[in-house]
Amino acid sequence: MTARLARWSLLLLTVFLLAVWWPLLKDLLFEYRYGKTDLFYSPVIERFVYKELLGEGHRFIYRDQDGNDYDRQTFETLIPFIYYKNMELWGKLPLRLAGQRFDKAQIQAERQVLELEPVELPGHAPRIQLFPLLEANPGRARLRFPEDILRSGERLTFINSDANRIDPELTRVFTAALTEAGFAWPVQAVFGRVSILKAFDAGYFFLDQAGDLFQLRRVDGVPEVTPVPLPDGLAVRHVKVAENKRGDFLGLVLTEDGRLFLLTQDEARRNASGLTPLALPGYDPETMALKILFNPLYRTAIYSDQREIMAVAMDRQFEPIERYARTMAMAEPRLVDRLWEALVPFSLDLRDPDARHFRLNLKLHGPLALPAIGAALILARLLLWRRGLHSLSMAPSLLLVALTGLYGLIAIALIPPEPSNPGEAAAADQRRMAMERDAT
């Protein structure tokens, strides 16, 4: 009995390992190099244009939404705010578009990119909840890390990095500052960008128990707290901070119900209606990477998962002008993908493209895998018959193959049933010898 239990443990272990390694092996053998489509809104032809890699080597296409193809240089002249350095090189500056004239300085002043990827969202990546609060007015050209780090909870605790000890004075001063501003303890979440390679420091945004948002900066060593007015009923899920001296916006606010707002850079302009809503139909923050491109004429939101890419072109007041969506070339299943999936009924994906955490996502391959399961069952029956098993005794193994297909077949081939008595083993040997005789 225990020997049977032992064998079945090994069979299950084998099936599990095969199901995890199956997709990893495909990635190793048939690597995918296509990448996502580059999609833009052309201010020249006022249509969406895109660049896409179609296959091996450098098979790029440069196309607009109506299916017109361009060579690379023409394509770049269709999005001159993106390739303004090339425009300068080719003598096409200043640009004349929509009855206006744009020189290099104007283009540079209005260019901004805001990005939000699923992996940045809380729960998508492990994060040690300790944050260095930089001095926002360092009195020198570059920002530098402080010798303390901030732990949030029932209070703001500062820990000195040299001594690895709590700094009671900083802890008291900064906790008191947030309390005075009306902060409802404990801290629910902290958002900010930990880097010294940025134009300035906007500090951190703290979400309190009441769902209110507060910005905390360290200015000349003392706390500066700025409440961020939120529209009624707005529950903050994430704040993406992108300190950039150009542009009017400091970042993005994502709500629990998946809506997205732009956060104004200028604190004085932040009021209850100060968050700018973005109308992005079909946007799913869990799976879609978002990019917002700013240029002197338009704002374009482009968002994509592993399959679809969508875009909304907006005017300077963020009113939608045009929308576009298409299935990317990378989403077209290759023959090898189809074959690989058809061979097995399911796989377990260890890697999630939208998270840093390893996960075991079960992917069912559906009716596509039925022929392979049928073939695996025939082979398994033959294999078990050669080992001298009767129909009834081979039933559990066949059930395993019916449920797991090729995985089960490999498992029972590697770990076949043990003969339960010497007579059975001898019968199996005789049957094997007879088959070999017939074959010769």
Binding site: A3, A6, S9, V20, I128, L130, S161, N164, F358, I415
Partner: protein, 221 residues
């Protein structure tokens, strides 16, 4: 009978285990010196930035230590048994064969667990010496798949050593290697937090599995 078996197991592995204990203490001492050295030559706030933001793991030098220990304990425990048919002789003791094998592996796994606990506590203490407690907890959570690697290494080696047929030995080694490769895929800290309970549950399948090679050994003609 059981105490006699455990004494015998201890006598078999004592020198190897004490050697491994010395190796663990040596590696943990080395880790202590490496971290201390980092904090001597770099500014502390920069090392914290590397650790928290850039996700560098300062304690990677010990990642294969549990695996090495698991394999070595299994080798010293079952290697001599497989010489000259001693293992088959042991299976004729007045104790059920499966209970006998489980008592052996329980002892071996326990001795491996002692080393794993030492690693976990020492890692917490070393990291906590220079980092806040969140980082020390994170280090232990990050090291859990490596400790599980010790378990897989021990049982994989046990299966291969107890197995009488060479081809089947290769199968067990292949399965164990495939499992081990899943445990060292990290690019930063705590990436296995969500998946580790499943991996631990699957690794528990090794406990009943070790009976199969013993059964095959006993019933081999």
């Amino acid at each position: 009978m059981l105490s006699a078996i455990l004494v015998k197991e201890w006598l078999k592995i004592r020198w190897a285990w004490l050697g491994l204990l010395a190796l663990h203490l040596g590696m943990l001492g080395y880790l202590y010196l490496v971290v201390r050295h980092q904090f001597r030559v770099e500014h502390s706030e920069m090392i914290w930035y590397w650790a928290f933001e850039l996700r560098r793991l300062l304690y990677e030098p010990i990642q294969y230590l549990p695996l090495i220990s698991g394999v070595l304990i299994a080798a010293t425990q079952f290697g001599p048994e497989m010489i000259g048919g001693r293992f088959r002789l042991s299976l004729h003791l007045p104790l059920r064969g499966d209970l006998l094998v489980w008592s052996w592996v329980a002892f071996g796994a326990l001795m491996g667990a002692v080393l794993a606990l030492l690693d976990a506590f020492a890692l917490y203490w070393i990291i906590g010496r220079w980092f806040p407690r969140e980082a020390a907890v994170s280090a232990v959570l990050t090291a859990l798949p490596w400790l599980l690697g010790g378990w897989v290494g021990y049982f994989g080696a046990t299966l291969a050593l107890l197995e009488p047929a060479v081809a089947r030995r290769l199968v067990y080694l292949g399965l164990s290697a495939a499992f081990l490769a899943l445990l060292f895929q990290h690019r930063g800290y705590q990436e296995y937090d969500q998946v580790l309970p499943v991996l631990i549950a699957v690794a528990l399948l090794f406990i009943p599995a070790v009976i199969l090679p013993a059964h095959r050994c006993r019933h081999r003609g």
